[in-house]
Symmetry: C2
Subunit: 339 residues, 2 copies
Amino acid sequence: MKKLTLKDVAKQLGVSTATISNAFNRPDQLSANKRTEILEACKEIGYTGPNRAAQILRKGQSNIVALVLADSLDYMVTDPVANTFIQGVSRVLRENQKHLLLYAGDSDTITDVVDFVDGFICYGAPRNGALSTQLNQQSKPVVTVDFNLEGRPAINIDNEKASYEIAKAALRPGDRAAILGLRLIDSPSTCRIYDSPLLDAESSITYRRLDGYCRALKEMGIEVATDWIWNLPENAGMYAVQAAREVLQSWPRPDVILCMSDIIALELLQCALTMGIDIPGELRITGFDGIEEAARTRPYMATVCQSSVEKGMEAAKLLLSGDNTSMSLPYEIKLGETI
Amino acid sequence: MKKLTLKDVAKQLGVSTATISNAFNRPDQLSANKRTEILEACKEIGYTGPNRAAQILRKGQSNIVALVLADSLDYMVTDPVANTFIQGVSRVLRENQKHLLLYAGDSDTITDVVDFVDGFICYGAPRNGALSTQLNQQSKPVVTVDFNLEGRPAINIDNEKASYEIAKAALRPGDRAAILGLRLIDSPSTCRIYDSPLLDAESSITYRRLDGYCRALKEMGIEVATDWIWNLPENAGMYAVQAAREVLQSWPRPDVILCMSDIIALELLQCALTMGIDIPGELRITGFDGIEEAARTRPYMATVCQSSVEKGMEAAKLLLSGDNTSMSLPYEIKLGETI
DNA sequence: AACAAAAGGTTAAACGATTTAGAACGCTTA
DNA sequence: TAAGCGTTCTAAATCGTTTAACCTTTTGTT
């Protein structure tokens, strides 16, 4: 009871394998009659169509798109931002009969998939730096989101501008300000930056956000000291709690804390409220992303809203179109009640 | 500048293609010397290893596992239970150098992937019923989670028993009880069941939960009327809100509401609190799943805790082991403050 | 010394399709 | 009649590996 192959079918129907193949793939290459005749015969004898594995080899096309997520999948899948992004990607891929391979950005290499996937969507700078290089050196299409890879199309919002704007809205003259940042330096735990060397400052969106904050701070005449900048290795509650405690216990306490994500801002808010700090009276907080939960807190969070679903959809569309032009998506500053 | 093939390399090194192949795949088939010599030469001339697409065809193995999620990916990815499940799966797959293909359970067919994936993990009964049949008819390994497919190994908790226990803990003699159920009948929107025909009652876990509730209700001498059972088409907040409003506005109001998921229970709680109903004084609520958020509410939710991560990990392990034995995982009844 | 077994390699046939070049056919046109 | 053309189909090369079967040489055993 072996599986039928094109050859078997051809023999049974008394035609060449090419004709069967054409019946399935290139209707213009044979008469309509013959085609329906063949397809019906196939259905009858239980041949469901050309073997995909063989097609992949021969055609050099698999209809599989790899979605490279910045961190380990363990972290990413629970992050609501990444989550809705995946949603957007999957929607467009499905509409186009493509498949989605989830790939961890902390993997060692892409050589084990590059031969068979049709392209890559890369969400955030891969934690394993070598991956970026490899992605860029191979020839299949790549679309990057929330970071840049030389010569490859990118989907982004204007992070510098957005950060500048939200910071500007939150700051008052004479403020002490702190920043809770994300992936700015290479450290496995939450800590202040001080003089640590910066991590791929060119391509990272968190650096664009830092740039925006700093521009606003400078304009307000507020000094930016690196010991007032914290760094979180991942966008996860666990690290955020730690950072929140530290910054809130530091003395003198800042008047404003700019957070590079809502996840961070929410934990900070929670922590501050528990400590009995009045928001925004004694402390102002800003987030980033506009996740749903940020709209449900009391007081509700000041943040930069961006549509992750749309990002995902646009990324997928861009990859499938084969276009090479980057794209800047709109965002919205939501003043909220925390500033 | 074409890509190097095994043949090219063989010619350049003056050995047969088989030897190169063996150097990469079967170290025991050639001397250690020759092997390192070959591998080094490969690195030098830039051959990164056998082409994966060709391997897939030839070996009939791709290292890709399809994760079939019950619903459209759009819904699933945001559900925290599904989410952590994916996390568990991905963790084990990565440890074993396997890849994860995300597949929507409302897809039309699996013929477009069955030829190249190594197996399927099926999470929940596919929304498109034909998929189950197709999955069962093909010969690659399948592991089911939270539903059953004849002859295939399944990973589950004892849903009937767990539901019985939590219901038993929540009920008092003489109670009026309502049930907010999930995917019991085929309806696109939230509604009561009445006499609607049941949906694949055999394989669905939500039927096991219903069985458990009913057993507890009967033991307490409480009548179970189908117009006190609501059905939600998906485990999503949107539908839950609707059901919550309806059931809370019905008269006489139930004393206990048994919810088949925490998502439902949380929306119900929220809704009840907004209406000024005292929990658990005027109304008792139970959930199911034990998602993190259920532990953070005030009062915190009575629910059945099960570890989705573990489910995912076990499912992946089971698939990779090739074993054919089903598995029942532990759960824990958490009494909470809502009963 | 004779022979069996192991070690190290090679050859060539799969794996299951796609696709180019061209054959066979029927028809029109000069 | 021969040439020209469009249609429909076939033969054969190709995609890049893996692996069963086979052939030498070396090693081990008695």
